[in-house]
Amino acid sequence: MRNVRFFGGIPATKSKYGSHYGEKIFEIGNERFREWVPWRSKLSAVLVKGYEIEFYGNEKVLYLGAASGTTVSHLADILDEGIIYAVEYSAKPFKKLLELAKERENIIPVFADASKPWGYSGIVEKVDLIYQDIAQKNQVEILTSNSEFFLKDGGKFLIMVKAKSIDSTLESSEVFSKVLEELSKRFIILKKGTLEPYHKDHMFVFGVRE
């Protein structure tokens, strides 16, 4: 993956910026890297588990559920020539996200409710990728409605599905198969897998809009 290198099985992103959430910074030759902890970031867990997701570096991305920006910060390293619209609805973590957005030119922070994409429809452009990490019951619906508003034809999506948020009474595997069925009605699923042991009851799904 662009700007990503593995050191002893753990990925790190090439970055000229400092630490954002307490991650280690180190220099190899004249390149600086930020350690990308798989327990902290689900995208890192995807990589550590050996799945490959290609980035070119100039993508426009809509990031739903940016929280305090842990994963956003690494994605911003990867997409050094792209733009990330980072949507988050909770004020507390948003403060931390704002620090990140002030430091980096490719992050546009949007303080809004991801389940109401019409609310930021005049701000966010058509994007190449929607990245979603939202622990809500209707997380699949949120992806669908946002993709209708913002995803280019042939655009990709990467969603981190949290089974326990959707239905805490069912087995995760049951929730996952329901979600996959639901997603395949609208998208073509390219890759999927669980994030054990880094994130319990989580699955990632990577796919493309027809």
Binding site: K60, A67, S68, I83, Y89, S90, A91, K92, P93, F94, K95, L98, A101, K102, E105, I107, I108, P109, V110, F111, W118, G119, Y120, S121, G122, I123, V124, E125, K126, A135, Q136, E148, F149, F150, K164, S168, H199, K200
Partner: protein, 260 residues
Amino acid sequence: MQKLSYNLWFGKFNGEVEVSKDLKQSFKSARNDAPLQFNVSEIGLKIFGNNYYNLLRKIAIDVAEEKVEKELKSDDKYVIVLVKALEQLDEAINALKEKKEDLELVRETEIQEEFANTLEKLERLRLRIEDEIASVMEKIAPNLTEIAGVKIGAKLIERFGSLENLAKAPASKIQIIGAERSLYRALAKIRKGKEAKVPKHGIIFAHGFIRNLPKHKRGKMARFLAAKISIASKIDFFRGELEEGLYESLKNRFERLRRA
């Protein structure tokens, strides 16, 4: 035919662009009911050129900063007011229901119908308030909401006066809040040298994990739940992000106690 007009962050667009004089204002009102049939950035790039993203980012940061500050100030106060309103409403609805039934027993009148309609309206209002509490709680205290549930979580914030107070409170206080009367009664007895039972739980008794245990196991669960609530509210107040695994440990404890 009327031309469609779109609200964009830098102004209005209806075939032609009308750039707003107040970009912060237009950014805040950039909502459109349906997906746009064009790409905002394409139009914006034509107007602002290479400066488009710089400008957008600057406005986005300014607007977000302003909104975040405002939210942080007022959100738990909002929950508190709503919880109080809900409690009042519950009392009123119950009382009115009784009167309605009294009325029905005496005579069938038109008033009775109006009575029923009004009650129904109040019940709808009640649901609205409940939904609103749930959505604000989810936002300001995701961990507390996951651990304690919306109702108990919101009540705790209300009783402690703010999320901050709750976050700074000891778990033991969280465990018995809502049972002060029986606590003080028990303490008074103990002071006189008599034996007394101190309450095991107050507000948190309503939690399914406590209620669904046999009586002699509830104390253990209440202590554990209060400790987890204490941790959850601390994370909510100081960090604000959902912490994975917190709920899991609570559930495991419940399952173990239930089987033991």
